[in-house]
């Protein structure tokens, strides 16, 4: 057993750092660090920078444009990118659809869509949840009826992140109502510019527009946009969900958030000394820091244990739960650290061009909103209750 990285791996880390220092725009990193709003352009800019270096799709095989990294390298990259406060690459194309197409797509689909994901031609979003199908995803109703060379699609998706920017959406749709509810689902790629597609914003509790409802009314989708076989979509979805969960450990992001929290706790004062020295607050930070240290190793165990990214289901469910708990706790502690200054919230202050004076400490503007926004972590991508069901059924065999 050896948890330490090899010399080559540490060299790679240095290379990543050098790249980030040279290429990550300070303007963007600063936004990420202080919880400011990223524009569509910000995302595209960083996407393009990574693509240019060939480091965008870290988990793709080299033949499709992946960098061919080992698990350790991918892990190091994730950690460094987060610590440098780079934006998270919007995952729907690169991290979600990409792997599904690579594993289940036709050659034509791979040839057409994968390069467009890499070069940013298509902004993808994900059409999974429906109003009546949240945790019970397989009960989804949005229908696709084959009519010759196309499917006629009707229904609704919800919680669709950044659909307002998207060119394309990949959807789970019902192509059959026979047999088990999981059996009649297909995986379909839909052009957001198709007639009959309508996006309506959902404003979240902190006032942001990040997620949407997407309505489909008699939308025509060419049959070549079906991925894999008809009625086999559940298999692809499960593959993707496992993938999504593992990535929800988000070790790098948590490490960066911890580092930011420590800075705040050094700056905020309590009784004439840094808040970081208050025994109760210091204990709160230490507890989550230790949880994170432990989770880092659990994460490495998953990565190393599998040799690939397909992790044992139990540990990956645990990583989703603990990973989101840790990030929620970090968001909570940052909020608590602010004291009374967690209350003010000027939404425009999160925009780049905001000219107003900061209210309270200059890092305060987005922290409470971020805390409320992060409540989503334990709800989305398979709620933490669903993860406990997975642990119960799969591993505990109860």
């Amino acid at each position: 057993m050896d948890l330490d990285f090899t010399m080559e791996e540490e060299q790679f880390r240095a290379e990543v750092r050098a790249f980030l220092k040279a290429k990550l725009p300070a303007r963007i990193a600063d936004k990420v660090r202080t919880g400011k709003r990223l524009t569509k352009k910000d995302h595209e800019e960083w996407h393009a920078i990574l693509h240019e270096r060939g480091w965008l799709a870290s988990h793709w095989p080299p033949e499709y444009g992946g960098p061919g990294w080992t698990t350790a390298q991918a892990h190091i990259f994730d950690e460094e990118v987060s610590l440098a406060y780079a934006p998270r690459v919007v995952p729907f194309g690169v991290s979600m659809l990409g792997p599904v197409l690579i594993k289940f797509g036709s050659s034509a689909q791979k040839k057409h869509w994968l390069p467009r994901i890499l070069d940013g031609s298509d902004w993808w979003c994900q059409g999974y949840s429906e109003p009546g199908a949240g945790s019970d995803l397989a009960s989804l109703k949005m229908s696709a009826v084959r009519q010759g060379s196309h499917y006629l699609v009707n229904g609704q998706k919800t919680w669709t992140t950044l659909a307002q920017y998207a060119d394309m959406i990949f959807c789970l749709v019902r192509t059959s109502t026979e047999g088990k509810k999981q059996a009649g689902i297909s995986f379909l790629l839909i052009d957001m510019k198709s007639p009959g597609v309508e996006v309506r914003p959902i404003i979240t509790l902190e006032g942001e527009h990040e997620v949407n409802e997407v309505f489909f009314t008699n939308v025509r989708v060419p049959v070549e946009n079906l991925v894999g076989e008809e009625n086999m979509g559940w298999t692809y979805a499960k593959y993707l969900l496992t993938y999504e969960r593992t990535s929800e450990a988000r070790v790098g992001a948590a490490t960066a958030a911890l580092s930011f929290l420590k800075q705040i706790a050094q700056t905020e004062q309590k009784g004439g000394r840094p808040l970081a020295e208050d025994p109760l607050f210091a204990a709160r930070i230490a507890r989550v820091e230790i949880d994170l240290e432990n989770m880092k190793t659990t994460n490495l165990r998953v990565l190393a244990g599998s040799g690939s990214s397909a992790a044992p289901l139990e540990l990956s469910a645990m990583l989703k739960i603990r990973g989101t708990e840790i990030r929620q706790e970090l968001a909570s502690l940052a909020r608590i650290a602010l004291g009374p200054y967690a209350q003010p919230f000027v939404s425009e202050a999160l925009d780049e061009d905001y000219q107003g004076a900061p209210i309270g400490p200059d890092y305060a503007a987005g922290i409470a909103a971020h805390y409320f926004n992060e409540r989503k972590l334990s709800i989305f991508a398979g709620s933490n209750e669903v993860q406990r069901e997975i642990i119960t059924k799969v591993s505990l065999e109860l």
């Binding site: 509790l205 208050d278 909020r335 709620s383």
Partner: protein, 370 residues
């Protein structure tokens, strides 16, 4: 021992509750909250006319209440509709003036709703410590001149007069040497950086540069402590009101939302979590009762009960807010559902007048003094 509210208080709570339930539904609340003012002078005037403001202070100061359970009755109702009106600042400032005595004219205007008060004590670096006052007061031979900054003063933009604490002598951390001053809203050297709050309504940072003021108490600390204690009783009962509504909304959602073919309230794991939520709410209610009961009592007992209540409300409030959102699933994350706003307000109560850790440490310290 008697857990029945008095007839007067029941009537006050009923009158206020009926008014708010009818006239202050959540859409109206959102409208008021997002208005430029961040509160509603019209409602304020009507509530004053209903006599609600008189419940905030004692008879000797022109009201008819002012005891812990009077404050409780009012703020519980305010919590049930997450009202954004300037009750908290009014309560604390008016209570302070009432304790000091005099100021009958101003108090009269306040209780009829024609003058507005704000209570400005917390400073940018004081972090809930009531003695951590840097704002300075100097007597220039003619009048008292204040210089300093007060942080996140609730509805300060609305105030005609601000009750400001400032250091007359001693250094930060001393209980002695803290005076209380009345400052007019339009006084020279006074400026306000106003802003909306994430849980609704508005507050502001109050900047004072050589601002003339009127001294109302030279040894102000005991008054401040008492006023803050009343403020904590108020926040605790506001939280109790919010938690009760939040619990009902969540139960309703659990009974109606279906997943896997049954209402999600049929899932035992969620049931047991709701049982814990319900239990914590009852514990919080008991803590709020203790605080209201102790408000009139001996100082150490009062302050221990106050800190115990604020700690309890902080802990229970976070649990109730987070569980309400979680059990509502994605819907709990939306602006559209009232529950998210109840959750935000509940969480932010933890940022007013001291958080969980602050009051736990304070409870321990007060215990050593026993």
């Amino acid at each position: 021992m008697d857990f029945q509210p008095s007839a007067d208080r029941s009537m006050l709570a009923e009158t206020l509750g009926r008014y708010l339930q009818k006239r202050y539904p959540v859409e109206v609340r959102h409208q008021i909250s997002s208005s430029t003012a961040g509160w509603s002078p019209a409602h304020w005037r009507e509530l004053a006319d209903l006599g609600v403001l008189g419940g905030l202070v004692s008879e000797s100061a022109g009201g008819f209440g002012g005891e812990g359970f009077d404050i409780a009755a009012i703020f519980e109702q305010l919590g049930r509709v997450i009202a954004v009106e300037p009750f908290l600042g009014t309560l604390m400032a008016a209570r302070a003036l009432a304790l000091i005595g005099g100021h009958e004219a101003l108090m009269g205007e306040v209780l009829t709703g024609s003058a507005m008060l704000a209570f400005a004590h917390e400073e940018p670096t004081s972090r809930y410590d009531l003695t951590s006052i840097r704002t300075s007061a100097k007597f220039d031979g003619t009048e008292w001149i204040l210089t300093g900054t007060k942080a996140v003063v609730a509805h300060v933009e609305a105030a005609d007069h601000v009750l400001v604490s400032a250091r007359v002598s001693g250094t930060e951390g001393d209980q002695t040497g803290v005076g209380l001053f009345l400052v007019k809203r339009n006084a020279p050297g006074l400026s306000i950086q106003g802003y909306p709050l994430i849980d609704g309504g508005r507050a502001g940072d109050l900047h004072l540069v050589d601002t003339p003021s009127t001294l109302v108490a030279e040894a102000g600390y005991p008054v401040i402590e008492d006023a803050v204690a009343a403020g904590i009783v108020a926040l605790s009962w506001e939280a109790v009101g919010i938690m009760d509504v939040t619990r009902m909304a969540t139960l309703e959602y659990l009974r109606t939302r279906r997943q896997f073919g049954v209402p999600i309230g049929k899932f035992q794991a969620l049931q047991h979590r709701m049982a814990t939520v319900a239990l914590e709410i009852e514990q919080a209610r008991s803590a709020a009762i203790n605080a209201a009961n102790a408000l009139q009592g001996d100082r150490i007992k009062r302050e221990r009960s106050i800190s115990a209540a604020k700690y309890t409300i902080g802990r229970a409030g976070t649990l109730v807010a987070e569980e309400a959102i979680q059990l509502h699933g994605g819907m709990g994350m939306t602006w559209e559902l009232p529950v998210s706003h109840f959750a935000k307000r509940l969480t932010m109560i933890g940022h007013q007048l001291g958080d969980e850790d602050h009051h736990l440490a304070r409870f321990i310290k007060l215990g050593e003094a026993v």
